[in-house]
C-alpha cells in the first residue's frame, strides 16, 4: 500500500493550489456576492488544462486520470465552490461523451472542452423529475436523418456557456430514454435567468427550453434506449467531482478554524488555548483526513474499477459521507468563530451556506445510502 502522491500528482496539486490561492481566493467573496465568475478565471483554468485532467491526450485531455482530478478539485473547492461546480458539471458531461461517444463525436467535441474554450453540460432533471427517468417528459422525435427535441430541463449547470450538452430525452416512437448531444445555443435552444441558490454562488444553474431543436441522428450518444445506463455511470463519475468539491469545503473549514483559533485572543491568549476550541480543531482534522482519503481513493477507483455497480456503490458511499461531513465541519468552523462566523466578513459564513449543496445534488444523501445498501445486499 502506498499513500504517497507521485511527483507529477504533487505538482498538479501544487499548480491548482497556487492558482486557487493567487487568483480565486482573493475574489472568493466577490464571486459569492455577484454570483458570477470572471472570464479570466475560466480562461486561466483552461490554460492550465484543468478542464481536461482525466481525459485522454488524443482528444486534447491531459491524460492524468481522476486520481489527479480530485487533487485539483479539492484546491478549487476550497477557494470557491462555485468554480469547482463549473468544473465538476463539465467533467460529468464530457465524461459521458468520453465513455460512450463515437470516435467522431469525441474528436468533434472533446478538444475544445478540454481547453476550457467550450464548457460541457449534462441534462437529466426536469420540472417533473429529478430522480426517476421513467417520468422524463422531454421528447425526441425521429424525422429522417434528424431528431426533433422538445421540452424543459431544470437546474442545469453550465447551461449558459457554449459547448456540448448531453441530454436525456424520451423517444416518441419507442418510449425509450436515449441520450443525445446538443450544441448549446443552437436554433430553438434558450435559457432562463440563473437560479438564485443558497450557496455555490458563481456556479451557474439555469433552466433550458428546447423548442423544435433539430439535431442530426449521428448526435445520438451510445445506443437508442441507452439513456439510463449513461445516466447512472455518468452520475457515478459526477459524484467524484461533487465529493472532491465538498472535500475542498472541509479543507476550507479546517484552515479557517485553525487560523481563527490562533488569531482571536481572550485576555491576551489565543482562543486555541481553550479545551472547547481544541476539541473543535481535532474534530475538523479527523473529518478532513477521513474524507480526504475516501475521496483520493474514489479518484483512484474511478481510474481502475471495471464493474459499474461496484463503482456506483463506492461513489455513492464517498459522496454521502464527505458531503455530510462538510456540513458538520462548516458548523464546527462557525462555532469556532462565534458570532463573527455569521457575518459575511468571514469566510466561515460562505462555507456554511455552500456546505448544504453537495448533499442535495446528484441524489440526496439518503438516496446514496439506498445505492450502497442495494449493492451490498444485492436487493434493490
Amino acid at each position: 500500500m502506498d499513500f504517497n502522491l507521485s511527483k507529477e500528482q504533487e505538482l498538479i496539486q501544487r499548480a491548482a493550489r497556487e492558482f486557487a490561492e493567487k487568483y480565486i481566493e482573493p475574489i472568493g467573496h466577490q464571486i459569492d456576492v455577484e454570483n458570477s465568475i470572471p472570464p479570466e478565471i475560466i480562461s486561466g483554468l483552461g490554460e492550465l488544462d484543468m478542464f481536461g485532467i482525466p481525459f485522454a491526450e488524443e482528444y486534447g485531455g491531459a491524460g492524468s486520470g481522476y486520481s489527479s482530478y480530485v487533487l485539483a478539485m479539492e484546491q478549487f473547492g476550497s477557494a470557491s465552490s462555485g468554480v469547482a461546480m463549473i468544473l465538476s458539471a463539465h467533467t460529468l458531461g464530457l465524461g459521458a461523451i468520453s465513455v460512450f461517444g463515437t470516435e467522431e463525436q469525441k474528436k468533434k467535441y472533446m478538444p475544445k472542452c478540454c481547453k476550457g474554450e467550450h464548457i460541457a453540460s449534462f441534462a437529466f432533471t426536469e420540472p417533473g423529475t429529478g430522480s426517476d427517468p421513467k417520468q422524463i417528459a422531454t421528447t425526441a422525435t425521429k424525422e429522417g436523418d434528424f431528431y426533433i427535441l422538445n421540452g424543459t430541463k431544470r437546474f442545469i449547470s453550465n447551461a449558459g456557456f457554449p459547448g456540448p450538452l448531453v441530454l436525456m430525452a424520451k423517444e416518441t416512437e419507442s418510449g425509450r430514454v436515449t441520450a443525445f448531444i446538443v450544441e448549446k445555443f443552437c436554433e430553438g435552444y434558450s435559457i432562463s435567468e440563473p437560479w438564485e441558490k443558497i450557496g455555490m454562488h458563481g456556479g451557474p444553474l439555469l433552466d433550458i427550453y428546447l423548442e423544435n431543436v433539430k439535431i442530426p441522428a449521428e448526435n445520438l450518444l451510445g445506443q437508442s434506449g441507452f439513456g439510463y445506463p449513461i445516466l447512472q455511470l455518468g452520475i457515478s463519475y459526477g459524484k467524484v467531482g461533487v465529493s472532491s468539491t465538498a472535500l475542498g469545503g472541509l479543507l476550507a473549514s479546517y484552515k479557517e478554524a485553525v487560523k481563527y483559533a490562533k488569531e482571536k485572543t481572550h485576555r491576551d491568549e489565543p482562543i486555541g488555548k481553550f479545551a472547547t476550541i481544541k476539541v473543535a480543531i481535532a474534530d475538523l482534522a479527523e473529518k478532513y483526513e477521513a474524507s480526504k482519503w475516501l475521496v483520493y481513493r474514489l479518484g483512484y477507483l474511478a481510474d481502475t474499477l471495471k464493474d459499474p455497480m461496484q463503482f456506483a456503490k463506492e461513489a455513492a458511499l464517498a459522496k454521502d459521507f464527505v458531503c455530510e461531513e462538510m456540513i458538520n465541519a462548516s458548523r464546527i468552523c462557525m462555532n469556532v468563530h462565534g458570532s463573527y462566523g455569521l457575518m459575511k466578513d468571514y469566510k466561515a459564513e460562505r462555507i456554511y451556506r455552500d456546505s448544504i449543496m453537495g448533499s442535495q445534488v446528484e441524489g440526496v444523501s439518503d438516496m446514496q445510502k439506498m445505492i450502497v445498501a442495494g449493492v451490498i445486499l444485492g436487493m434493490k
Partner: protein
C-alpha cells in the same frame, strides 16, 4: 542560444515545522529555490522571444532527479544533474566547483548562465559569483530585467537606491532578484511531459571532482525570536505616531 539555469533543491519552506526554535526537516517535501524559479522564468521568457534552449543544472542528492521535474514542467527543455549524497548540504565553494565543472563539460556551450541571487534555504548568495570567478566569466548581479542581443545582454540591476543598466558580453553569469518576474504556474500537460524530457546525470568523479569534506555541519539553526512590543495606543494619532517612530510609515 544556450541558457543554463542553476537551481538548488531545498525543503519546501512553507511546510517546515519549528520545534523549540529548531526547524524540523524530516518528512518535508522537496522543491526548488524560489528565486531560482525566477531565474528559470527569465530564461523561459527569453526563449519565447529568441531561439533558445533552456537547460537546468542542479547538484544534489538522488532526490533531485524527481524534484527537477518541477523546472522541466515550468518550461526548461532538459536538465543536467550532478548527483551524489555528499552534495546534499555542500558548502557554497564546493557547489560552485561542481557547477563550474559541469558547465565546462556541457556539450552545448552555455551563452547565458542564470542563478537566483540567493538560495531559498541558506541565502549565502555566493555560488553565482564563485562560478563566474572559476570560469573567468563576467557577472552581473541583482538583475531585474535582461534583454539579450547579438553576443551581448543588457541587464538592469536593481540596487538599493537606484537602477543601473549595464551591457555585458556573452557568455556571462547573471544572478537575478525575486522581483524580476512572476514564475508561471505549469499546466497539467506540461507537468506530465516533464519526466519525458532529456536528462543527463553525472557523478562527481566523472567531472574529476573529489567531494571529501564537502559537507558543512550546521551547529545551530534557530528561528529568530520575535518580541511583541505590546504598544498600547489610545487614538489614531497615537497609532500614527507609534508607527512613524518605528519607521514603518512616513519614511
Amino acid at each position: 542560444m544556450n541558457i543554463v539555469v542553476a537551481m538548488k533543491q531545498i525543503p519546501d519552506l512553507q511546510q517546515i515545522r519549528i520545534r523549540n526554535r529548531q526547524p524540523v526537516f524530516e518528512d518535508v517535501p522537496l522543491t526548488l529555490g524560489p528565486i531560482d524559479k525566477n531565474a528559470l522564468e527569465a530564461a523561459v521568457a527569453i526563449k519565447e522571444q529568441l531561439e533558445a534552449q533552456v537547460t537546468v543544472l542542479s547538484a544534489g542528492d538522488e532526490n533531485v532527479e524527481d524534484t527537477v521535474k518541477e523546472a522541466l514542467a515550468a518550461g526548461a527543455d532538459q536538465c543536467y544533474l550532478v548527483l551524489d549524497d555528499a552534495l546534499k548540504n555542500a558548502e557554497s565553494s564546493v557547489t560552485a566547483e561542481v557547477l563550474a565543472a559541469a558547465l565546462k563539460q556541457m556539450e552545448d556551450k552555455p551563452d547565458l548562465i542564470l542563478f537566483g541571487e540567493g538560495s531559498g534555504d541558506n541565502y549565502s548568495g555566493q555560488v553565482g559569483s564563485r562560478v563566474a570567478a572559476i570560469l573567468d566569466l563576467p557577472q552581473v548581479g541583482y538583475a531585474s530585467a535582461i534583454e539579450v542581443g547579438e553576443g551581448k545582454a543588457v541587464v538592469t540591476r536593481s540596487l538599493e537606491n537606484c537602477e543601473e543598466v549595464v551591457e555585458v558580453t556573452l557568455p556571462a553569469v547573471v544572478t537575478v532578484i525575486a522581483g524580476i518576474n512572476e514564475p508561471r504556474i505549469p499546466s497539467v500537460s506540461q507537468i506530465l511531459k516533464a519526466g519525458r524530457k532529456p536528462k543527463e546525470i553525472v557523478e562527481p568523479d566523472e567531472l574529476n571532482l573529489d567531494l571529501e569534506n564537502a559537507k558543512t555541519d550546521t551547529l545551530s539553526n534557530l528561528a529568530p525570536e520575535t518580541q511583541r512590543k505590546r504598544v498600547v495606543v489610545k487614538s489614531v494619532d497615537e497609532l500614527i505616531q507609534a508607527l512613524t517612530s518605528e519607521a514603518l510609515i512616513g519614511r
